[in-house]
């Protein structure tokens, strides 16, 4: 103990310097938006570098189940292509360009969870693009560096997603109330609509982020909130957010045009 204290006293100048240095950096971070973005970017680069070796090892060990998943996915895609060829209606999916990516870091135990993907600006990834997995949605791109990008997970208490009940087309917003990474809460569905346990929830497509009709999950439980005329619905997610390995980043080709239109009415 005495030794530790002696060492601390010997390096007191340096320790005080480090403390003041971090105070100054946090001062810059909070004072200027430009510095905040730059410092965030450095953070993304470092965490990307840090988690890449770990990811390359674990992805090697997981090759067999991943292959199985890929085969399943190919099967699904093939069926979609066939369905599209057979239907006479024009598919809305032509508006979206898809890039695949590996999940390098995934968190799901904090209240604000973020995911890091191994694709970045070099691959054409931009802020606000949406990210989906094979069996559900994952989140929205928040920050990008040259080779990595940071995704706000749907398991983030600040995130609200526009969804609808597939059966009745009733729109609502889905948000995460912490604790359980498999359950999310759906609100703003009016009690006029009929809801049953097991009903399908899909993306609404009212925000420009996600294409509509992506399967999210099913109704696990619901109750009417007194005096409001709205349901409070618990949704069981279809995707397992705790073992993500692959993600698909969706670029809405008309995003700029839509943003322009949207901003012109503000």
């Amino acid at each position: 103990m005495q030794r530790i204290i002696n060492t601390l006293i010997r390096f007191k100048n340096f320790l005080v310097f480090i403390l003041l240095f971090f105070l100054s950096v946090s001062f810059s971070y909070n004072r200027s938006f430009y510095h905040r973005i730059k410092i965030d970017k450095i953070g993304v680069i470092f965490s990307g570098l840090l988690y890449t070796p770990y990811h390359s090892l674990s992805s090697y060990l997981n090759l067999i189940p991943i292959n199985k998943k890929l085969i399943d996915e190919n099967k699904n895609l093939k069926s979609i292509i066939l369905n599209n060829l057979n239907s006479s209606q024009e598919s809305s999916n032509d508006l979206f360009k898809i890039t695949s990516a590996n999940v390098i870091k995934n968190s799901y135990i904090k209240s604000r969870n973020f995911i890091i993907l191994d694709k970045g600006e070099n691959d054409g990834i931009k802020r606000d693009m949406s990210v989906i997995s094979l069996d559900g949605i994952i989140g929205i791109i928040n920050e990008t560096s040259k080779n990595y990008s940071n995704v706000i997970s749907i398991l983030n208490i600040d995130m609200k997603i526009n969804v609808k009940l597939k059966k009745s087309n009733a729109f609502g917003s889905l948000e995460w109330k912490k604790y359980d990474p498999t359950i999310m809460e759906l609100s703003d569905i009016s009690t006029v609509n009929n809801v049953k346990i097991g009903d399908t929830i899909v993306t609404g497509g009212m925000s420009f982020y996600f294409p509509q009709n992506i399967f999210i999950g099913v109704v696990k439980n619901y109750k009417k909130i007194d005096d409001t005329g709205f349901y409070s619905i618990q949704v069981k997610l279809n995707s397992n957010m705790t073992n993500l390995t692959h993600a698909y980043i969706i670029e809405n080709i008309n995003q700029q045009e839509l943003n322009k239109l949207n901003n012109s009415y503000k």
């Binding site: 100048n13 003041l20 430009y34």
Partner: protein, 166 residues
């Protein structure tokens, strides 16, 4: 002791006021604003406690940052320069570095000039770097650093000779 601290606070106060009111508005060539408050870092006693010196420098920078609406460039540069000052003193004065202050030193002008130029250059470089915070603008940062270093050094050497005469 109290008297000494009071004198120190007054000096810092006047330096900050002068910096904000006069020297921040000079705009030589449209870009150069000499950092007159560096007189504090240069003149401050060499045998003063390092921690206290770092704290006072940090607060000078913080106050300047708050009053001039900059994003931490003054704070970071004064803090770092106050931390590495002993090394620069050893480098520029060699065996004479055990003296109390630059004013009481009977030493060649060359050594004093080295000391001032090194301190001012490092300080200005950190300041411009934090202000731009972008490696792609390295040449702009270097340009600002050099111009500001020249003007600040001239003003500091001028005021030092003023003190010496007194």
């Amino acid at each position: 002791m109290i008297q000494e601290n009071l004198a120190l606070s007054l000096r810092i106060f006047f330096l900050i006021i002068l910096q904000i009111v006069v020297f921040n508005n000079l705009n030589f060539f449209g870009i150069a604003n000499p950092c007159f408050y560096m007189l504090y870092i240069i003149l401050h006693r060499f045998n003063y406690k390092q921690i206290n010196f770092m704290l006072t420098s940090f607060f000078i920078g913080l106050i300047l940052d708050i009053l001039t609406q900059t994003a931490g460039s003054f704070t970071l540069s004064t803090l770092i320069i106050s931390f590495i000052r002993p090394v620069i003193i050893n480098f520029s004065f060699g065996i004479h570095s055990d003296q109390i202050s630059i004013l009481s030193m009977n030493i060649r002008f060359k050594n004093k000039l080295t000391f001032i130029l090194i301190i001012v250059f490092i300080h200005q470089f950190i300041m411009s770097f934090v202000e731009y915070f972008n490696f792609q603008m390295f040449y702009t940062i270097l340009k600002y650093t050099l111009i500001n270093t020249i003007f600040t050094s001239i003003i500091l050497i001028g005021s030092l000779s003023f003190f010496n005469k007194k």
